[in-house]
């Protein structure tokens, strides 16, 4: 059935709500890549076996990941009239006990992490589960969740990402219909501009402005692209966004395509994410079936479709011009800008193209549903909205964390992450991946926003936060990143290709305790030169890990070199 009107959408919403609250117990297993890897799929299979064998009146389903990776596998239970309960560290041997408890109207208490009496899906739907289970702590009182604000991850781990009806149930695609039938392209772009949204791919470019530039170019054809290359090692926000709530991304792209006048959209996704590719492919098919992609969407005459293009393992292909070359079937080597992607002759196959990161697109539906005014109250001035970070490395509570921009590093690492793992002392964090830098513990009152991180010598990047503790050797970290960048340099420009190689040789010598003080000076000078003269963002930022460790952890270098 094609959805043509709000009435059609409301009818689907009812179908979806019936799936989320089926009037009987529902067990949902967290099955994103991380949940599967720690045995979530075995839990699911075992539960299914028991339910099928005894033909029990229990709904079993899959959901994505709520982000508390340390506690996985996670399982949610909803019993009519009772709060949703999140179970943690579940394994297949718990399956029988879970089923037995559920049949008796309860949950296995010793596996219960917390309870959710009601959940705000932000896009106009508050799911009222119910009350009870007083012994189980509230979601809002769990330290890992307490300081978070879920806007992008509002559905993650709660709805089935492989079922479009559940997305519609929580208010999905209502923003798309509002935008396409009730707003004109200009007013959509104005809303995005007023929201203050800045690109989540790393550079923080104002999204509304990029959209306006793309819209204003005169051309017979335009493309929009979603950058799902997620190249920074240690970052997996985009993976979870796509695996847990793929329709959120598709809805954002539909609205963007309409605003910019594009008929074709592409999602460029890295080959390392097979499950995200699978779920996106399925979501696109479902959206087509409902008429949300294809011809004459919502009877407006608007045509738009999305195709997936896979990457093949090259970090530099996250860079805009290299990404376009890669989709066109060429080696991913950047070219100087201008021409920019938005220029005639600069984008995909020469057509003006808008490129945005996964999470940038994911922000669009809430901006349209709740308005730019609401959005702009979240976060800090000039840095509105929330950002998802992957908090990993030597931190106690690893996972995906969503906080308003402007939240301090110490809130993220100490309050949410509970400091170092195994009671070790945290020494620094590394943000921004290979283009970022290391920020020492004494600067943890730095608010996490685009400008403050730059001032500290690092960058926001896509949202990876890798925690280092007292046992981490900072010179080794610098060497690690330079080695990474050397391997990933496309080889086109000399400063990046040769400069990084020599920086690596110097670092190797220093680490082998054969370096001198002079080598440190050379390393700093070489780094500055690479920053100043490289062709693309890869080379221009690659020395950041060296420069920041030289600035903040000079003693570790000094201890290795001869005078």
């Amino acid at each position: 059935m094609k959805i043509k009107s709000v009435t059609d959408l409301v009818a689907k919403k009812k179908v979806g709500l019936q799936k989320i609250l089926p009037g009987k117990p529902r067990i949902a297993v967290g099955l994103a890549t991380c949940g599967i890897a720690v045995g979530g799929d075995r839990v699911y299979e075992r539960l299914k076996e028991i339910i099928d064998k005894d033909r029990l009146d229990i709904t079993l389903t899959k959901v994505g990941c709520i982000g508390y990776c340390k506690e996985e596998p996670l399982v949610n239970i909803t019993i009519p009239g009772k709060p949703l309960v999140i179970l943690h560290k579940v394994d297949e041997s718990d399956a029988e006990e879970i089923i037995r408890s559920v049949q008796n109207g309860g949950v296995p208490y010793d596996r219960a992490l917390c309870q959710v009496p009601a959940w705000d899906h932000v896009t106009g739907c508050v799911m009222d589960y119910g009350k009870g289970f007083d012994r189980i702590p509230l979601y809002d009182n769990i330290p890992f969740f307490q300081h978070q604000k879920k806007v992008i991850l509002r559905d993650a781990g709660l709805i089935n990402p492989e079922d479009i009806d559940e997305y519609i149930a929580i208010g999905g695609y209502f923003s798309a219909i509002k935008a396409l039938t009730g707003m004109d392209p200009d007013s959509i772009i104005e809303e995005v501009e007023k929201s203050g949204l800045r690109g989540r791919g790393g550079a923080g470019f104002p999204t509304g402005l990029k959209w306006r530039i793309t819209r204003d170019v005169k051309a017979d054809k335009k493309y929009i692209i979603c950058n799902a290359d997620e190249g920074d090692p240690g970052a997996y926000m985009n993976r979870n966004e796509m695996e847990s709530d793929p329709h959120m991304l598709i809805e954002g792209m539909i609205i963007g395509a309409f605003a910019m006048g594009a008929a074709e959209g592409l999602i460029y996704i890295r080959a390392e994410y097979p499950l995200a590719i699978k779920r996106l492919t399925l979501a696109i098919e479902q959206a087509r079936e409902y008429g949300l992609l294809g011809k004459d969407i919502f009877s407006t005459g608007f045509l738009f479709d999305i195709r997936i293009a896979t990457g093949a393992g090259a970090f530099v292909c996250g860079e805009s011009t290299a990404l376009v070359a890669s989709i066109e079937g060429r080696t991913g080597r950047p070219h100087p800008r201008p021409p920019r992607l938005t220029d005639i002759g600069g984008g995909l196959f020469g057509y003006p193209t808008d490129l945005n990161n996964v999470e940038t697109w994911c922000n669009i539906p809430v901006i349209i549903s709740n308005g730019s005014g609401w959005y702009a109250t979240i976060g800090a001035r000039g840095n509105t909205g929330t950002k998802v970070f992957s908090l990993v490395g030597k931190v106690d509570r690893v996972g995906l964390v969503e906080v308003p921009l402007g939240t301090t590093l110490s809130t993220i690492v100490s309050d949410i992450g509970n400091g170092g793992a195994n009671n070790r002392k945290v020494k620094a964090v590394q943000t921004g991946g290979p283009s970022g830098g290391c920020i020492p513990f004494r600067l943890f009152d730095t608010p996490v926003d685009f400008e403050s991180l730059n001032k500290a010598g690092s960058i926001m990047g896509s949202g990876g936060i890798v925690v280092m503790d007292e046992d981490t050797d900072m010179v080794d970290i610098a060497r690690y990143f330079i080695n990474f960048a050397t391997g990933e340099s496309c080889g086109k420009c000399v400063p990046c290709r040769e400069g990084l190689k020599h920086a690596l040789l110097l670092l190797n010598r220093i680490m082998a305790k054969k370096g001198t003080k002079q080598d440190l000076e050379t390393l700093a000078l070489l780094s500055d030169t690479i920053v100043a003269t490289s062709l693309c963002g890869l080379g221009q930022t690659a020395p950041n890990p060296v420069l920041t460790t030289l600035a903040y952890f000079r003693d570790e270098y000094d201890a290795l070199v001869k005078p």
Binding site: D232, G311, A312, V466, I477, G487
Partner: protein
Amino acid sequence: MDEKTLDIIISRYEAPAGRLLGIMGEIQNQEGYIPRETLEILSVKLEVPLSQLYGLATFYSFFSLKPVGDHVITVCMGTACHVKGAVKILKALEEMLGIKSEASEDGKFSITTEDKKFTLEIARCFGACSMAPVLRVDGNLYGYATPENLPGILAEYGWERHEN
């Protein structure tokens, strides 16, 4: 890869965007590498110079031109895995498989044991960083790897300790 299979793959990519990498990715996934003959046939069918296809096969680390062993072990060398001891995991695997790692001419890291049972590779990040260090064997991810639990994991794939 026989021509019929290749034709089916090609037929799935009618639009030019993402076509070449998509097709080559599927060949890589099915065969474990990209055979030279397949690349030659592909070049004729798509009317794309072989040199361009060869350029792609060597530029992108996902593609391999050499056959791989029965099981492919990929160790994540991403940042989270690095700080949690990925190097130790790699060294332990080398020792277990009796091979020594070195980058090949095209800068790619891939070594196969003499009996062609295992191939050892590295990756940048699987996006499973919360369970660092992580390794993948034939598409299955294993988190919280330690040198001690590696033998148990590899045993699932027919690995046995050889005295040498």
